[in-house]
Amino acid sequence: MPSFRAIRALLALNYGISLQYRAQSVLWMINGTVPLIMMLIWLQLAKGGPIGGYDATTFAQYFLFMFLARQSTPTWVIYLMDRGVKNGELTPYLLRPMHPVWHYASEHWGELLCRLPIILPIVAVGLTIADAWSWSLLAHLPAFVLGLMMAWLINFTVHMTVGLIAFWSDNALGYDTVIYQLYIMLGGVVVPVELFPEAVQSILAWTPFPYVLDFPVRVMIGRIEGFDVLAGFGIQLFWIAVLGALFTWGWRKALRQYSAAGA
């Protein structure tokens, strides 16, 4: 575990780098607008009356916070790992007395700091246009933020673990899309998980996917309450532990492999 000071320094560096790539941030964001597009469609559909317990306001809230959740948890760490292995960019990181994970993580955090000031106003404007503000949102905010932080960790660890493929295979990037598709399909980005048939929902409950985006969003809009919120956090923690252990185990093997190929 590196010192707080080291993390802060890395964060400052990466924040600085991200600021210079502002244009790119904006484009990432455009690409992350899937929830907004889906919101438009669902809002049109909901004009005929509530669908599965979701009325227009709920849809607007769900997808706006889904947008926020997606935008706070993106990760391109598979890309970084793939590049690190292919070009040997990982080598200098390995020489430092700090796990390379911290470099990757801080790059993401630096970028997030640049991104949030653009994302938050979009969500605020969206809520205003859709007339979907409510005091209850404020009450749910702390749980939402906590859920998002855990979601970030799950997502990042999933990607890091899958990214280990880069050490054995020439092209791990394909799997980035696979995970992306799984999230879109199973994570609530296009259809709220609650609108899936019961059977599908109960299968999904066994995977980490609904706990990354759908769970915190539903907490935020008040569709998960009381004890279920705690249970959800518990499951998030469970996934972090499982995936973290898996990654730690794989990383050790990966370093040996990296070494076998010449570092």
């Binding site: 790119q24 690409n31 597009i37 049109q44 493929i165 295979s169 394909g174 696979v178 259809v191 609108l195």
Partner: protein, 261 residues
């Protein structure tokens, strides 16, 4: 012309060789292809459980739309993405001169240099979904198939032109690698009938991010519901953006050559 065909074949051969190197990538991307279409179908299924129609389209009609999106995604993935997204890299690394001194039009080179025809999964899935959808709608006639083919070509031309134009911006703003990936938006927005969006978004999706022409028109053609206004509109739009993109490319090359001498 013959020389160009020969060149294209040589380029394909070279890329196939490179792709064979990256064998596990094939598996990952195939999986992604299947998942992506699966996602769309599952999403539709979940939506149609709740509503009878979306923007006036039935489930089967939207299914054809999904097949078309998959097919176009396939073309982007094996052709435009690998080729055109390299423009930014060329410019950033100053490798563009190498292309310019070749005795072949530079636009031709950047367009065909990296055609990755190895993975046909996307095409197979796309055409299958279109076929299933058309069959269920009951619109499988040779006339409709001909129309579908024509408008698919128009769609590919439109996507190509937009992609080229966006990548060409790299000559002026060297640090925008991701610009062209905006193109991927069409696959989400385009999976739905434009009529399903609120009116202001319909305008956006017709003229700015032209999913109306790119996905909706071919789907309407395949299901025998294409009006001649939309058909002509799509063809005109395709011609217009293609000429525009070529013009922009030539302008960029002229600027580049005079600036870097």
């Amino acid at each position: 012309m013959k020389r160009h065909l020969k060149l294209i074949l040589l380029f394909i051969r070279a890329t196939v060789q490179i792709q064979l190197e990256y064998r596990s990538g094939v598996f990952g991307r195939t999986l992604a292809n299947i998942l992506s279409t699966g996602t769309s179908v599952m999403l539709l299924w979940a939506m149609f459980r709740q509503v009878p129609s979306i923007g006036g389209w039935s489930f089967d009609q939207v299914l054809v739309l999904v097949g078309i999106v998959t097919t176009i995604e396939f073309v982007v993935e094996i052709w435009f993405y690998p080729s055109l997204s390299k423009i930014t890299t060329y410019v950033q690394r100053g490798e563009f001169d190498v292309l310019l001194i070749k005795p072949v039009a530079s636009q031709f080179l950047v367009t065909f240099r990296h055609l990755q025809v190895m993975e046909l999964t996307g095409l197979v899935i796309g055409l299958t979904v279109i076929g299933v959808g058309m069959h269920r709608v009951g619109s499988v006639t040779s006339f409709n198939i001909l129309l579908l083919a024509i408008f698919l070509v128009a769609s590919v031309v439109i996507i190509y032109s937009l992609y080229l134009a966006l990548s060409t911006l790299a000559f002026w703003f060297t640090r925008i690698e991701e610009v062209a990936s905006m193109i991927w938006l069409h696959s989400t927005a385009g999976s739905f009938p434009v009529a399903a969006y609120p009116p202001w978004a319909r305008l956006l999706f017709t003229f700015v991010l032209p999913v109306a022409f790119v996905t909706n028109v071919p789907a309407q053609a395949a299901t025998g519901r294409l009006s001649w206004e939309w058909g002509l509109g799509a063809l005109a739009f395709a011609t217009f953006v293609f000429c525009g993109a070529t013009w922009l490319w030539n302008l960029a090359i002229r600027n580049y050559s005079s600036a870097s001498s």
